[in-house]
């Protein structure tokens, strides 16, 4: 006997959707507050500090922006793949390979003029990230392999490969044995615009491009159709294999570009920890935005506020970093949980039986 039944719903009015989402956020804040209180802190002070830590003042705004940029670009890459229901869990690896290729250019062609060098680095990162995504794409297209596992595993290969470079062939000979890749020269570093590296402009452009690509181009439409139903796509004469491969080149390319931006503007070298979980966080932000590029832009900013606000908590209020992570977790749990209730109706057997009668 099943006591709880779950059924799909597709008839929710728009304001009801908004209501459920707001409720989820309020509930998560209330619940996080209770947990914070149980740990012996004043929840109001904690939330206030989180907001202040992320948005209060120029320095903090810059820090928030620096976290939002890689998240936004990676999220765009993930959205394109998810639109096709190609579960690209490989953002981390694509970021690393992009960073690796950009570093190769930066370290070996530093005699080139700055603009040319930066453009070459960006192109190299897009190609490398795209190729890293192309591998699971071609296997999926030709052999029908499971892309979730495939892309996930490729992450570890990419990270370990960069670790190998860092400890071996690319190790800085002047570092007295400390395993690090040499720093980039000044020419290989992205310029700042209004106090934040130029990546924020690239991020905004990519949001617009992704939005137009998905909603207003033939190729973007094909991506959506393949995602909705492979059979329909085949019936409509869409070349499915080509759509899968092109989409993944775009998806991996954008993730790879994130790697170039992080290597050039932030780390100023290549490190194995450079992807900093952006590839995984982007999966969350992509879902939260329901694969809408413009919504994702704002979701990513909110997420960056959570990251930066959380990082400031332990410094200003002496709260362990783990508490900040927990607050983020609670908020995500409720917000993602609410998506379930938006899509499914949960009923109890008794009531349903009555309705049937």
């Amino acid at each position: 006997m099943k006591f709880i039944t779950i059924s799909r719903r597709d008839d929710i009015p728009r304001n009801r959707i908004v209501l459920i989402r707001i409720l989820a956020i309020l509930l998560s804040i209330a619940f996080a507050g209770i947990v914070i209180m149980a740990l012996g802190y004043n929840p109001l002070a904690v939330f206030r500090q989180m907001i202040k830590g992320a948005l209060g003042g120029k320095i903090r705004l810059q820090q928030t922006a620096l976290k939002a940029v890689p998240l936004i670009i990676t999220t765009m890459g993930i959205i394109v793949a998810f639109k096709m229901k190609f579960w690209n869990i490989g953002g981390e690896g694509q970021i690393m390979m992009g960073a690796m290729a950009a570093s190769f250019v930066a370290l070996n062609y530093s005699h080139l003029p700055k603009t040319l060098l930066l453009i070459l680095m960006a192109l190299a990162s897009i190609v490398a990230g795209g190729l890293w995504a192309f591998i699971p794409a071609i296997f999926k297209a030709k052999l029908g392999t499971n892309e979730t596992i495939f892309t996930l595993m490729l992450n570890y290969i990419a990270i370990k490969f960069v670790t190998f470079l860092q400890y071996g062939p690319w190790k800085d000979p002047t570092s007295q044995g400390y395993p690090k890749v040499p720093d980039f020269t000044a020419k290989a570093i992205l310029p700042n615009v209004f106090g934040v590296h130029i990546g924020w402009i690239i991020a905004i452009i990519l949001v617009i491009v992704t939005y137009i690509f998905i909603n207003h181009t033939k190729k973007g439409y094909e991506v959506t159709v393949v995602g909705e139903s492979v059979d329909t796509a085949r019936y409509a004469g869409i070349n499915i294999q080509s759509v899968i491969i092109v989409t993944m080149l775009i998806s991996g390319g954008m993730c790879g570009l994130t790697g170039m931006i992080q290597a050039s503007a932030i780390e100023k070298t290549l490190t194995a920890s450079l992807s900093a979980n952006y590839g995984f966080s982007a999966i969350t932000t992509a879902w939260l935005s329901r694969l809408n590029a413009v919504a994702a832009f704002f979701v990513c900013i909110c997420f960056a506020i959570l990251l930066q606000g959380g990082a400031s908590l332990q410094i200003t209020m002496n709260i362990p970093a783990a508490v900040a992570d927990m607050i983020q977790g609670i908020i995500l749990f409720f917000v993602l949980g609410s998506e379930f209730f938006l899509q499914y109706k949960v009923g109890f057997r008794k009531r349903l039986a009555k309705e049937e009668a």
Partner: protein, 370 residues
């Protein structure tokens, strides 16, 4: 439908009021702790303040600063900060935005991030432990002659071992670490020429699980004294489980493995931090590359436990006295590396600059990756 719309608007108003309330309260605190008489100091740690090793030793220095200056300083700390530029810079910048005018970074890998911050925030003073970069205005570094107490701990290990095999859990094959391994080996060889030192690199400063696993692999090879250049007490605990002995590092950690603990080369960070921070506050600080010795009391050997043989205690006290008098040089020739090349000639000895060019292991030492 109508009902839910009403509820929705009520909720929206509540949210907006909440947001207003939060920002309003934020405004009251607008001063950001920039009180003229109070200096805010930020400490950035790689590990946890209670890690029983490296970071805890650093934090002891921090609490000493807090005790010494009392109301005149406000201490901010950030723990578990990875050696990754974004993370380090975020921590430093968050501290600066809270009014910090001194930032102390306590791990080697924080160096590049601190260097960038020093350029971007010229009004803030940056002190970096174990690094080798500095500038003329607001960025200095500090470290100590850890080779001295390392050598002393080697004497103890050399006399304690029964298998003549010493194990050493090390972070990276990097100069700072190599200096410590070599000093330990030279100390052990000075009292026991047959002794061999096996080194395992874990390629991390701070990885408690791997530190212990590496120690276990050394114990399995027959090593019966484990020394370490890593952050946790894991290797000491592994030695205790095996019923043999351990030399700690960073701080007196005898409580972590009382059945194994012989001694530990330790830091007294307060000896540097208190006078230096006093200078920064007083406006007389000039960036330097501080190198504290046994003589200064900045590095030291923890009190030897009852497991240390009497013979070793006498020998250690004798050499320690010479170090404090400034007459004992750890790297005195003739020293060969483990390839057989003479690296320090007979009758010569290395000074600080010479020591910090070491990129070899001395004779009798073998190193491998974990």
């Amino acid at each position: 439908m109508k009902k839910s719309k009403k509820l929705l608007s009520v909720l929206l108003i509540l949210v907006m009021m909440g947001a207003l309330f939060l920002t309003a309260c934020g405004g009251e605190q607008g001063g950001d702790g920039k009180d003229e008489d109070v200096t805010t100091i930020g400490f950035i740690y790689i590990g946890s303040k209670t890690d029983g090793g490296y970071t805890q030793a650093q934090h002891l220095g921090t609490t000493a600063v807090e005790d010494y200056f009392g109301e005149k300083v406000k201490i901010l700390t950030a723990e578990n900060i990875e050696e990754e530029k974004t993370t380090v810079k975020t921590a430093a910048v968050n501290m600066i935005s809270e009014g910090a005018s001194i930032i102390v970074g306590t791990s080697y890998g924080f160096m590049d991030a601190l260097e960038e911050c020093a350029q971007e925030y010229p009004e803030v003073t940056f002190l970096h432990f174990s690094g080798n970069k500095m500038n003329d205005t607001n960025f200095g570094n500090y470290f100590g002659a850890m080779e001295e107490p390392r050598y002393l701990s080697g004497i103890i290990a050399g006399l304690k071992t029964e298998t003549n095999k010493l194990g050493y859990v090390a972070a990276f094959p990097y100069t700072e670490v190599l200096i410590g391994i070599n000093a330990f080996a030279l100390g052990a060889q000075s009292v026991n020429p047959d002794v061999e030192v096996s080194v395992v690199y874990i390629n991390s400063w701070n990885d408690p699980a791997n530190e212990k696993i590496a120690a276990e692999s050394l114990l399995a090879q027959g090593c019966d004294v484990i020394a370490q250049h890593c952050d946790s007490a894991g290797p000491q605990i592994a030695a205790e489980e095996k019923g043999v002995w351990a030399v700690g590092y960073n701080l007196d950690s005898r409580d972590a493995a009382p059945g194994a603990f012989l001694t530990a080369p330790i830091w007294h960070h307060d000896k540097y931090l208190v006078p230096t921070i006093e200078k920064v506050i007083g406006g007389t600080y000039v960036p330097e590359s501080y190198y504290g010795t046994m003589q200064d009391g900045y590095v030291d050997l923890a009190e030897m436990s009852d497991l240390v043989p009497e013979e070793a205690k006498t020998k250690v006290e004798e050499i320690a006295q010479q170090m404090k008098d400034g007459t004992f040089k750890v790297f005195s020739g003739e020293i060969k590396d483990n390839q057989g090349n003479v690296v320090v000639a007979e009758g010569e000895s290395l000074d600080r600059a010479g020591i910090w060019q070491i990129e070899y292991l001395v004779e009798g030492v073998t190193g491998r990756d974990n």
